[in-house]
């Protein structure tokens, strides 16, 4: 497969096609309906079919191509002792400054191959799912064109061979996320959420851009050949400090994109978008771009241990922080959102302790079960007629069995129950944390694992067990299973969240840590002194134990909640009363939004108001008005010379000309 560029450009083609057709169709409808196409008008079936085929088809084709590309590569590099050299294909020279050129070049190596595999695969499934999920929505074509555009940007990001090109994809996915969060732009909170996401990402991108410049300053190049240079420690700039700064800047970008504290605020609000979007962009693919970036630049990060420590602690902090918030949420999607944030924290924790391959492994597995969970929640919400409050659900296990089973599997996976995917990846993270001697981090991770298990099973229990709460039409009693276009992807994802972990069975369990060896080629590996297998297995048992405890606890508090009215058991209520202020704080998401409002936004508003009222209105306008006044004065004086008699003008003109001639003659 020697045409890598086709992979991103197929979705682009899909985007153009869908977008154009949607535009033309909607304008046509607007015309013959004598007005803007009024909301809720379902598209004609033929057009829906077209959009579906183009949208799914383009991405599916891209997926086929990418597997055609990466499978041979993966197998080959598995056999080769050192792994294969990365495949780099230059499409054309993007910009040339002096003797330095930035090419539009695509790179296929272990890292991008891994990303490519699940991005295209999960992406395709979610496109299929969307066909079912969005069928009643208006702007069907718009939705698919955005989704295709996102796939284009994401694939560019993954395949890019240079930081500038990666940044293009980076911004592209940011844009698409903004567009899709604000998909229901006629609802205020959706538009607001979109803006919030965009601005939070800007903060990150600011660091990202500076980071790119920094990399260029350090290595004299911005394409990924700098990784090699970093491995051989060939540095141009002021080494230790420079590296530290660049790492922090790049990590700032990663934080923005991957919703790490304190830039995580946008991700929960992003749930305002359609659920498949949350699954694709805000769980499986885009938000992991930050981890990908850090893994890409791992060689650089390794050069600066301080930066790595910071990464690790930010990750760990985010993990536990988000997990605590997740405990107290009642909106099913919000819970999943915070769980995503917390899992991302895990990944950064792994990177921080130098286990980049472990981080990427978790990215990989997480993509499957989190996507599965989100899609499942989407199915639930749809069956509940767009009810998202878990307290109004309950007892759905019997009504939507397929959704229930798939979600249960995914929950066990994310909780880290042996032998599901989540277990291996999470355990690899905790193991390497312990192995690298950061026992504090390990403890945090372990505790978070417990919390994860708890809130996830809380979600499952409140949704599916007990009796149907809520009342009136369109609730539990009338819930019905979703169409196969939605359930089939659920099953596939569930299956993968079971088996995906087998890629990385640790040596201790008689496996051979394939993923680690696979990624060796492209990510750095600071030497981790091995632990004895006994200790390792012990830790595994411990984490499984913690997970099971969490599950049991959640079942005890929420699973048996019987009464039609109550969502939670008395114990839970009691516990909540006992925690008091702290509990309220947690339930209120630690007041992060309020804090940002108070510390950042309101000062900015004040400054802005001052610049407007004081500086612009008084000073600038003052100058303008003054000059205008002067000109007017001058005009009042001069206008007495304009008699309006053409002959006067002619005479004056001639006098001037005569004077000129006289002057020329004399001189």
């Amino acid at each position: 497969m020697n045409q890598l560029w086709l992979i991103p450009f197929l979705p682009l083609a899909g985007f153009l096609l869908n977008g154009l057709v949607a535009l033309v169709a909607s304008s046509a409808r607007a015309e013959n309906e004598s007005g803007a196409d009024h909301p809720g008008a379902p598209l004609p079936y033929a057009q829906r079919l077209f959009h579906g085929i183009v949208g799914v088809g383009s991405v599916g084709l891209a997926a086929v191509l990418s597997f055609a590309a990466l499978v041979p590569y993966a197998l080959g590099s598995m056999r080769a002792p050192e792994g294969l050299a990365p495949i780099v294909q230059t499409v054309y020279t993007w910009m040339a400054a002096g003797d330095y050129t930035v090419d539009v070049a695509f790179r296929l190596d272990a890292l991008s191959a891994l990303m490519l595999s699940f991005v295209t695969f999960v992406g395709t499934l979610i496109h299929v799912y969307s066909v079912g999920y969005m069928q009643k929505e208006e702007g069907y074509g718009r939705y698919f064109s955005y989704l295709n555009l996102f796939m284009f940007a994401m694939l560019t990001l993954v395949l890019a061979d240079s930081l500038p090109l990666l940044f293009v994809g980076w911004e592209g996915v940011g844009l698409c996320s903004y567009l899709l969060i604000g998909y229901y732009y006629d609802k205020d909170f959706c538009a607001a959420a979109g803006k919030k996401a965009f601005i939070a990402n800007r903060v990150g991108d600011f660091g990202m851009v500076l980071g790119i410049f920094g990399v260029f300053a350090l290595f004299g190049t911005a394409d990924f050949s700098f990784v090699e240079l970093a491995k051989r420690q060939v540095l141009a700039g002021n080494a230790p400090l420079g590296v530290y700064a660049v790492c922090l800047l790049l990590f700032l970008g990663a934080c923005g994109k991957s919703a790490q504290v304190p830039l995580h605020v946008w991700l929960p609000d992003a749930m305002a978008g359609p659920t498949p979007v949350s699954a694709l962009i805000h769980a499986a693919t885009m938000v992991t771009a930050g981890v990908y970036l850090v893994a890409r630049c791992s060689a650089l990060f390794v050069l600066s241990p301080d930066a790595l420590t910071l990464v690790a602690w930010i990750g760990a902090g985010t993990a536990i922080f988000a997990a605590t918030i997740g405990l107290a949420q009642n909106d099913i999607k919000k819970v999943l959102a915070y769980s995503t944030v917390s899992q991302l924290g895990y990944m950064f924790l792994a990177c921080g302790v130098g286990a980049f391959s472990a981080g990427m492994f978790h990215v990989f597995t997480h993509a499957f079960f989190k996507a599965c969970l989100f899609l499942g929640s989407g199915s639930v919400i749809m069956s509940m007629h767009h009810e998202q409050d878990m307290r109004k659900m309950g007892g759905l296990a019997g009504r939507i069995p397929q959704t229930f089973r798939t979600m249960l599997v995914a929950t066990l996976a994310i909780a880290g129950v042996f032998p599901l995917a989540g277990f291996f990846s999470k355990d690899m993270i905790l193991g390497s944390a312990a192995a690298s001697g950061h026992w504090a981090l390990y403890a945090v991770g372990l505790f978070t694992a417990g919390l994860t298990a708890f809130y996830m099973f809380r979600l499952v229990s409140m949704t599916f067990f007990g009796k149907a709460r809520g009342h009136g039409h369109g609730h539990g009693e009338h819930a019905h299973e979703s169409p196969p276009t939605m359930t089939v992807p659920l099953w596939i994802l569930a299956a993968f969240s079971v088996v995906a972990g087998l890629l990385g069975v640790p040596v201790a369990l008689g496996g051979s840590d394939r993923i680690g060896r696979f990624l060796e080629a492209s990510v750095a590996h600071p030497e981790i002194h091995e632990m004895s297998h006994g200790l390792e297995i012990g830790l595994m048992l411990l984490s499984v134990g913690v997970a099971v405890t969490g599950l049991a606890w959640a079942w005890r508090w929420y699973g048996k909640a019987a009464g039609p009215a109550e969502a939670v058991s008395p114990e839970a209520q009691a516990f909540h009363e006992r925690t008091g202020a702290l509990g309220r704080l947690v339930a209120n998401k630690w007041n992060v939004d309020e804090g940002i409002e108070a510390l950042v936004l309101s000062p900015f508003r004040k400054i802005g108001t001052f610049l407007w009222r004081g500086f612009d209105a008084l000073f600038i306008d003052g100058i303008a008005n003054a000059s205008a006044f002067l000109v007017e004065l001058l005009g009042d004086l001069l206008r007495f010379f304009t008699t309006g008699h053409v002959r006067n003008y002619a005479l004056a003109f001639t006098l001037g000309f005569a004077a000129l001639v006289a002057y020329v003659w004399m001189s």
Partner: protein, 174 residues
């Protein structure tokens, strides 16, 4: 002082004609008559042009200037039915006297200046010599080589002028 030749006689006659009728054109009160005197002036000018080895220009002078432009003037005058210039005397005497003075002064200045302007020494003409028997092909070649751009721009200008004239002379602007 060159010998009195036929050419000189023609020149004297033509230039007298030109100046006389130019003056007549200015002092004339009736627009129609001033147009006519201008026509005569142009005749004289074309004679001068022939003396200056520019018969093509001479023909154009009559063909375009006298034959087209001034006829247009006549048209407009007749259309607006302009008779005698208003009998009431000029209400800006200053303008009148001053204008006269300035015109004379400038005329004198220019005459002096042109006469003092450096002229190429005898017998060393610069640029392409005028092929006496038929200068029209030479002009044509020049027009379509060195002056091509000007020529094209000119054609555009004429088009614009035609359109503009049509628009302006429409009865209503709506």
């Amino acid at each position: 002082m060159p010998a009195l030749s036929g050419e000189l006689v023609v020149f004297g006659f033509a230039s007298l004609l030109v100046l006389a009728f130019a003056l007549l054109m200015v002092v004339q009160k009736t627009p129609v008559r001033s147009v006519l005197s201008l026509v005569v002036t142009f005749f004289g000018l074309s004679v001068l042009a022939i003396l200056l080895a520019a018969p093509f220009i001479a023909a154009l002078q009559i063909f375009v200037y006298a034959g087209a432009i001034l006829v247009l003037f006549l048209f407009v005058i007749m259309l607006l039915n302009l008779k005698e210039e208003a009998a009431d005397k000029d209400d800006r005497p200053v303008q009148r006297t001053l204008g006269l003075l300035v015109a004379l002064a400038l005329g004198g200045l220019l005459a002096g200046a042109t006469l003092r302007a450096p002229l190429p020494p005898r017998g060393t003409p610069t640029g392409t010599p005028i092929p006496m028997p038929d200068e029209i092909p030479a002009l044509g070649r020049l027009l379509f080589s060195d002056y091509l751009l000007a020529f094209e721009v000119l054609s555009l200008l004429l088009l614009v002028a035609a359109v503009g004239a049509l628009l302006l002379s429409k009865r209503r602007f709506e």
